[in-house]
C-alpha cells in the first residue's frame, strides 16, 4: 500500500501552459514524461493504484472502472475529491494509457484538441460540471453519488447511471443532481419501470427532468424522501409513455 501522489499546483499550471503552447502534441504520444520533483504525496489517502479495464470499441467499461476507482478510494472525503492536483496526476501518470484509449486525441480536429484535453485530463475551474468531465474524477464522483450500501447490489444505481451519457452530462451537474436523494430516486424509478424506459430512454428521462425542475419551483425536493419523489414521478407515467425522440433532444447529444 502506498500513499496518493499529486502534482504541485504550479506544475498543473505549467502542464496547461505547455499544452496550449504545443497544441497538445505531447498527448499524442504513448508515454508521458513528468518531472518527479513536481510530485507530492498525500499521506491521508492510501492507494494501490489499481489497474483499470481498457476501453474497447463497443464498451468503454465506465461502470466497471467506476467500481474499481470507488472501491479503492471509498474513504476519500468529498473535499479531498475536489483536489484537482490528484485527478490531474492520475490522468497523466497512473492512467495515461487508459486515457489514450478512452480519449483518443488523434481523432480530434486539431483546432479542438486543446479544449478536449483540458476537459478530460484537467479540471479547469473547480465545479460540478468539470468534475464530471475529467475521466478519472468522473468515475469516483459518479460512484460516490449513486453507491447505496442498503441495496443488495450497492452499485445497481451506478450501473444505471453509466447506461446513458445524459445522466453524467446533464443530470449530475444540475441543481437536482447535487442531491443524492433525488439522483437515487430518479435512477430507482427508471430501474423499477424498465418497460416504460426500454425505448426513447434519453428523451423520457429529459421529459421527467423538465417536470421535476418545474415542480422544484414550489417543492423542496431535498426535504422529501425518495419514496415521495418517486410518487411524484409516477404522476407523469402516462405522459412519459407517449414520449418519443424529439429533435431538440437530438441536438443536445454529445460525444461519448
Amino acid at each position: 500500500m502506498s500513499y496518493q501522489n499529486l502534482f504541485r499546483s504550479t506544475y498543473v499550471e505549467k502542464l496547461k501552459s505547455n499544452l496550449k503552447n504545443n497544441n497538445g502534441e505531447a498527448y499524442l504520444s504513448s508515454t508521458f514524461r513528468h518531472e518527479e520533483k513536481e510530485v507530492l504525496e498525500n499521506t491521508t489517502i492510501s492507494t494501490e493504484y489499481p489497474e483499470l479495464i481498457m476501453p474497447e470499441a463497443n464498451n468503454n467499461h465506465d461502470f466497471e472502472n467506476a467500481k474499481i476507482i470507488f472501491d479503492t478510494y471509498k474513504e476519500m472525503t468529498p473535499v479531498q475529491a475536489t483536489d484537482v492536483r490528484i485527478w490531474t496526476y492520475l490522468t497523466h501518470v497512473t492512467y495515461w494509457e487508459y486515457m489514450q484509449k478512452r480519449r483518443p486525441v488523434h481523432e480530434q480536429q486539431e483546432q479542438k484538441r486543446v479544449s478536449y484535453i483540458l476537459q478530460h485530463w484537467f479540471i479547469e475551474n473547480l465545479n460540478s460540471s468539470n468534475l464530471m468531465r475529467n475521466d478519472i474524477s468522473l468515475l469516483w464522483w459518479a460512484a460516490y453519488l449513486t453507491y447505496d450500501q442498503d441495496r443488495e447490489n450497492p452499485y445497481e444505481l451506478t450501473e444505471e447511471l453509466f447506461s446513458m451519457l445524459d445522466y453524467t452530462r446533464h443530470l449530475l451537474p444540475g441543481t437536482q443532481g447535487r442531491s443524492r436523494n433525488f439522483v437515487q430516486a430518479l435512477l430507482e424509478f427508471v430501474i423499477e419501470n424498465k418497460d416504460i424506459f426500454k425505448n426513447y430512454k434519453e428523451s423520457k428521462v429529459r421529459f421527467l427532468m423538465r417536470k421535476a425542475n418545474y415542480v422544484s419551483g414550489y417543492k423542496n425536493f431535498p426535504a422529501i424522501p425518495k419514496g415521495t419523489i418517486k410518487a411524484i414521478f409516477r404522476q407523469y407515467i402516462n405522459e412519459i409513455e407517449k414520449v418519443q425522440n424529439s429533435p431538440e433532444d437530438d441536438l443536445l447529444k454529445e460525444d461519448t
Binding site: P78, V79, L145, K219, N220
Partner: protein
C-alpha cells in the same frame, strides 16, 4: 432552488405581497476542523404557519448547497432555535443556504391567514415538501484550510519558475495566489526566509505587490472567482468589521484593503528597516 423570482401556485409568506406577516432567520456559522455548525434562530409572524409548525404539519427547512462538492441537503426541524452540524469534509468554498417553511404532510384545502385578497376564497391542495414560507438565503465560505485563515500563507505561496533570471510573476488561477520567482531570486529568498526580522520587508515588497495584483483581478473579472484564495478573501471582506465601507469593486478602495489585510505592511516594513539598521549600528560600535 431559487424561488424569489417565481410566482407559486399557492400563497407563500415571504414572496412579494402574497401573505402579510414575516419569516426571519438569524444565522451564524462556526468553523471547526471537524465540523461546520450553523446556529439558527427563526421567527414566524403568521398564525396559520405557527399552528402548523406546532402541530408538526409544517417544518422549518434549511437547504444547504455546495456547488463544488455536489452537496445539497435539507435539514428539517420544528424548533425555532437549533444548531445544525455538518462534517467539514462535505463543504468547500462557497456555500449557499436557503430558508423555508415546508409542508411536513399533505394539507388538503390549505388556506393561510393574512393572504393577499387575490387569494380570497381559494383553497389549495398542498402536498408534502411544498414551500409555505421563504426566509431568503445567505452565503458563506467554507475554506479548505480553515486553521490558517488569517495568515498570509492561507492565500499565498511562493514558487520558482524555470529561468535563472527574470521578473516576478503572479498566477491567480490556483487555490492560492502563486508568487513565482526566477531560480536565482528564489534561491536568495530561501536563504533569507528563515530570518523573522525580514518578514516585514517581504510583506512590504513582493507580498504587498502580489496582493494588490490579486485584488485588482477581483475587481476586474470573474476568472478567478472559483479559486480558494478569491473566496477566502471575498468572505473576509464581507464579514470582518474592519472592511466595513470598503468595496473591492471600487478601484480606489483596493490599496486600503490590501494594507488592512497585511496589517499596515509599509509601516511595518519601514520599522523593520529601522530596526535592522539600528541593530547593525549597535554591532558596529
Amino acid at each position: 432552488m431559487k424561488i424569489n423570482s417565481l410566482s407559486l401556485p399557492h400563497p407563500v409568506l415571504g414572496i412579494e405581497d402574497d401573505v402579510r406577516g414575516s419569516y426571519t432567520v438569524d444565522f451564524q456559522v462556526e468553523l471547526d476542523k471537524e465540523k461546520i455548525s450553523f446556529k439558527v434562530k427563526q421567527n414566524v409572524i403568521n398564525r396559520t404557519l405557527k399552528t402548523l409548525i406546532d402541530s408538526k404539519k409544517a417544518v422549518f427547512t434549511i437547504e444547504v448547497n455546495c456547488y463544488q462538492t455536489f452537496y445539497r441537503k435539507s435539514f428539517l426541524n420544528s424548533e425555532e432555535n437549533y444548531v445544525i452540524e455538518i462534517p467539514s469534509v462535505h463543504l468547500r468554498n462557497k456555500v449557499v443556504v436557503y430558508f423555508y417553511i415546508t409542508a411536513a404532510q399533505d394539507l388538503p384545502e390549505y388556506q393561510i391567514d393574512e393572504a393577499n385578497e387575490d387569494y380570497s376564497g381559494y383553497k389549495f391542495d398542498i402536498t408534502k415538501g411544498d414551500v409555505l414560507a421563504y426566509g431568503g438565503s445567505t452565503t458563506f465560505n467554507a475554506p479548505k484550510d480553515w486553521q490558517a485563515l488569517m495568515a498570509v500563507t492561507s492565500f499565498m505561496q511562493i514558487e520558482e519558475y524555470d529561468k535563472p533570471e527574470g521578473p516576478l510573476q503572479f498566477v491567480l488561477t490556483q487555490d492560492k495566489v502563486v508568487v513565482q520567482m526566477s531560480q536565482n531570486d528564489y534561491k536568495r529568498y530561501n536563504e533569507y526566509k528563515g530570518a523573522k526580522n525580514l518578514y516585514p520587508i517581504f510583506h512590504g515588497s513582493f507580498v504587498f505587490a502580489a496582493l494588490l495584483h490579486a485584488l485588482y483581478n477581483m475587481n476586474a473579472s470573474g476568472e478567478s472567482a472559483e479559486t480558494d484564495w478569491y473566496q477566502a478573501l471575498d468572505d473576509r471582506l464581507k464579514t470582518e468589521e474592519r472592511f466595513k465601507g470598503l468595496d473591492v469593486k471600487q478601484i480606489e478602495h483596493i490599496p486600503e484593503i490590501a494594507q488592512k489585510l497585511l496589517d499596515n505592511p509599509i509601516y511595518r516594513e519601514l520599522v523593520g528597516i529601522k530596526n535592522i539598521i539600528e541593530t547593525a549600528n549597535q554591532e558596529g560600535e
